[in-house]
């Protein structure tokens, strides 16, 4: 019930993000989401794309420090309060979210990619989310 995400460690320096994107472009990778957690010295770039393993191989070859990690992708209804309800569901179940980011899907819905802080709670989170009526997306459903 998880999708693959690429996490890349980048120095917070001019041109680094451009170089990263060019590297993925040259490998024929299409991104559907990109988020940056930044500090003054470095940034963590998280990417959802069509071919995670191919992206990882291209990044490794180019000398990037990249990892494939798994996140939960949830379809969020396109209306006020959609995301709030999802997060409240998790909060009610005492599940905390390590990080998350939104991106839009071509069907008009928003998608929230999230990682729960305690990986032992991942299955519990899926259960709570589905019980609350949200749809969890599988790998391949994003394209």
């Amino acid at each position: 019930m998880m999708i693959k995400q690429i996490s890349v460690f980048l120095e917070n320096d001019k041109g680094r993000l451009a170089a990263l994107c060019r590297c993925l472009a040259d490998a024929g990778v299409n991104m559907s989401a990109l988020s940056i957690a930044d500090t003054p010295e470095y940034g963590l770039v998280r990417i959802v794309c069509n071919e995670a393993d191919k992206a990882k191989a291209a990044l490794d070859a180019a000398g990037y420090r990249a990892r494939v990690t798994k996140v939960t992708a949830v379809a969020v209804p396109n209306r006020p309060g959609g995301l709030a309800e999802l997060l409240e569901t998790l909060d009610d179940a005492d599940i905390s979210v390590e990080y998350g980011y939104c991106f839009s899907h071509q069907d008009g819905n928003a998608i929230f990619a999230l990682k729960v802080t305690d990986s032992a709670q991942a299955a519990e989170a899926v259960f709570a989310i589905e019980r609350a009526g949200f749809q969890i997306l599988e790998e391949g459903e994003l394209d």
Partner: protein
């Protein structure tokens, strides 16, 4: 056979065997006598020492104890260079049997001259290394150090002869022939630089040989270059033998000044021929056993090229305690770099190798690092260590990078007593050169 308790004129193998087991107090008596002899010899025969002792107000005739040697001035590599070629000879050239020269990679070559006595005790010192490795008359020693001005080749050669072993003087190079000899002649002890040993091992493996079956090696005596514990383990695995370190330098003799035993926990100094001190390279003060600093050597019975308090620029420490092997001679730790690499951070001496040691304890980072030294707005030294994360480090966890940086920094603070900021950087952002890596970037004003 000479009196077994008399090690003062160690010329034969049997005597040398005994001298390595002498009670340490007895060794210290010999050392005091030897230092006194060297002081007078240098003062009376080498103009440099006459001038240097007189300028320092040091009296070479009345040394009360080995501790009082701290009043004597040092001699440096530059002093030896300035006196080249024959200015540091304490005997007429007619008494000199052989001359070697240091590699001279850092400037003018310095010279080591040997009388017959000097050659004999050099052979003896190297032979100890072979004996510590379990070698003797039944061994075949292949000497793959370069023969020539470099002390490695002939030092190992004379040592192997003195040990009673059979010597095969292959010299360095022609690796396939080295391998053929290793295989067909039943070599049991290989003497060469550690990097050449690795090259031999890799070549043998590429040729499809299985060293544990095709070779008969029991030990390798590999000096002249520092090598890490990992490097040692890899060599031992590839060639199925024991790797032992050996230390020496042309300025005081050549390889054999200190030899590692099978305990692989430090190198036994030939204390019957050398008196060793460890000093703080910044202040020149002598340091107690156990503390890291610069090795300073005084020869005890060198005739042609004696030295008093020669600053080796090599960083090590004297290991406290006795070695389980039974040899009473004190041990120096494996070399920790050179004083040329030393940094002084807010008054504390820091060697890049100490930083490396700390980093080795963290699986999350690789061995690539760079140290940046600068000053802040209050003119205080600021040190930043840049390290690369290993591929399996899970940096995706929030705060994982900060936590790692903090942990390494805390360990550095504990081990080095210096606050160092740690920054995890992208791989390859630290430049890699094929030769020596640029480990330190010092941007402080007035620092070379």
């Amino acid at each position: 056979m000479a009196d077994e308790h008399d090690g003062t004129a160690a010329t034969g193998n049997a005597e040398a065997a005994d001298v390595t087991y002498l009670p340490h107090e007895k060794l210290e008596e010999m050392q005091l006598e030897g230092v006194r002899r060297t002081l007078v010899n240098c003062y009376e025969h080498i103009p440099f020492y006459k001038r240097s002792f007189d300028e320092a107000g040091f009296d070479p005739y009345h040394l009360a104890s080995l501790d009082d040697l701290t009043n004597a001035p040092f001699v440096t590599k530059q002093d030896l260079r300035d006196a080249a070629p024959y200015g540091m000879l304490a005997v007429p050239l007619s008494d000199v049997r052989e001359i070697h020269m240091s590699s001279g990679t850092t400037g003018v070559a310095t010279l080591g001259a040997y009388t017959q006595h000097d050659l004999d005790f050099w052979a003896d010192c190297f032979a100890r290394g072979i004996r510590y490795a379990g070698g003797g008359a039944n061994d075949v020693v292949q000497v793959a150090y370069g023969y020539g001005l470099f002390t490695g080749g002939l030092g190992a050669h004379y040592g192997a002869l003195a040990s009673g072993a059979t010597v095969i003087p292959t010299s360095a190079g022609n690796t396939e022939r080295q391998i053929r000899i290793l295989r067909e002649m039943g070599t049991t002890i290989l003497c060469c630089t550690p990097s050449y040993a690795m090259h031999i091992a890799d070549t043998a493996l590429e040729m499809g040989l299985d060293p544990s079956r095709d070779f008969h090696l029991k030990a390798g005596i590999h000096g002249a270059e520092p090598f890490s514990d990992n490097f040692r383990a890899e060599l031992e695995r590839k060639l199925d033998y024991k790797v032992l370190d050996i230390y020496g330098l042309t300025e005081t003799m050549g390889p054999g000044v200190a030899c590692e035993c099978l305990e692989q926990d430090g190198l036994h100094l030939a204390e019957d021929h050398f008196f060793a001190e460890i000093i703080d390279p910044a202040t020149g003060k002598r340091l107690p056993d156990g503390e890291w600093g610069e090795l300073v050597l005084t020869t005890l019975d060198r005739e042609a090229s004696p030295v008093v308090r020669y600053r080796t620029r090599d960083i090590t420490r004297i290991l406290p305690g006795e070695c389980p092997c039974g040899c009473t001679h004190k041990r120096i730790d494996r070399l920790h770099g050179r004083t040329d690499d030393m940094l002084i951070i807010r008054g504390v001496n820091v060697f890049p190798s100490q930083i490396e040691d700390v980093m080795k304890t963290f699986d999350q980072v690789s061995s690539w690092y760079q140290i940046e030294v600068g000053t802040d707005e209050r003119s205080l030294d600021v040190v930043t260590l840049k390290a690369e994360a290993n591929p399996d480090f899970d940096f995706d966890q929030t705060g994982a990078i900060e936590a790692l940086q903090r942990q390494i920094s805390a360990r550095l603070k504990t081990d080095l007593s210096v606050g160092i900021k740690v920054r995890i950087v992208e791989p390859k952002s630290i430049s890699r050169s094929t030769g020596k890596a640029k480990r330190v970037i010092d941007t402080r004003k007035g620092i070379k």
